[in-house]
Amino acid sequence: MSERIGHAVWALAPYAPEAPFRLYPGPGDRPPVVASNIKPLRAALTRGGDAEVTVLTPAKVRPVLVVAEASDTSYDPGLLVLRLLSFDKLGEAERAQVREGKDPRYFHLHPSGFKDLPQENAAIVSTLTRVAQTAVEPGSLGALNRNELRVIHERIAAYFRLDLGAMVRRMVLERAAGTPRPEP
């Protein structure tokens, strides 16, 4: 397991760009160019030579939980992270719900394992986001153990309805046939 996976870290986590899109107009005093939705933007950019644009999208520096990284980080420096839900945003009854694990969307991060987080938190399974390594501050705010991370991976697969059936069946059949598996 990579030294980052399972750790809470500070990161610049962007929101997903949503319409209307505000496009950076380049240096100068011009206000952002606004595209009302994806259709005119696609048409305009196709006419512009399949150009790319810089979208102004809000982002927040916040603690996140690193749940995965690419197999080859030298070519793909992206990390998959979950945003954290700070308990100071919740009422006492809501905090209790999250601590008791009544909703699988939230995975309570026990404060004893995350002593450097400013608040008690839960990882939000539905907020899977890709961030670059350079958008992550070095240093850990605490970490999950391997079993806790497995639970989170399972919940991510369930929330996003990832069909892992073919992979799991193949693994089971390979094990049944005695095919040795590579070391993780």
Partner: protein, 100 residues
């Protein structure tokens, strides 16, 4: 890649098969190649159960519907500016960065 077994049924009068024995698979060969396997119904049931089990592995439980808490958290975390003010003042940003 489905593991479940498709089953067809034929009447015993239309084929001649040896008496199946529980725990034993009888392999029928043709030109040295396995052509069919005769199983005791109990063994076939176990094999079918195993195949169903393999099919079901990897299917995850559906998530429960949004609760009031989930709606509140979703709005809070997916709405820019809901958690904290949006800072879009260039001069203020530069001043704050200079102090960092």
């Amino acid at each position: 890649m489905e593991a479940s077994l498709h089953t067809i049924e034929i009447q015993s009068g239309s084929v001649r098969v040896p008496e199946p024995v529980a725990g034993t698979a009888t392999v029928v060969r043709r030109y040295k190649q396995p052509q069919a396997v005769i199983l005791h119904p109990r063994d076939f049931e176990r094999l079918s159960q195993d195949a169903r089990l393999v099919d079901e592995i990897g299917l995850s439980e559906p998530f429960p519907p949004f609760t009031p808490l989930a709606r509140k958290v979703h709005l809070l975390l997916e709405t820019p500016g809901a958690e904290a003010p949006l800072l879009e003042d260039g001069e203020m940003l530069e001043a704050l960065l200079a102090q960092a």
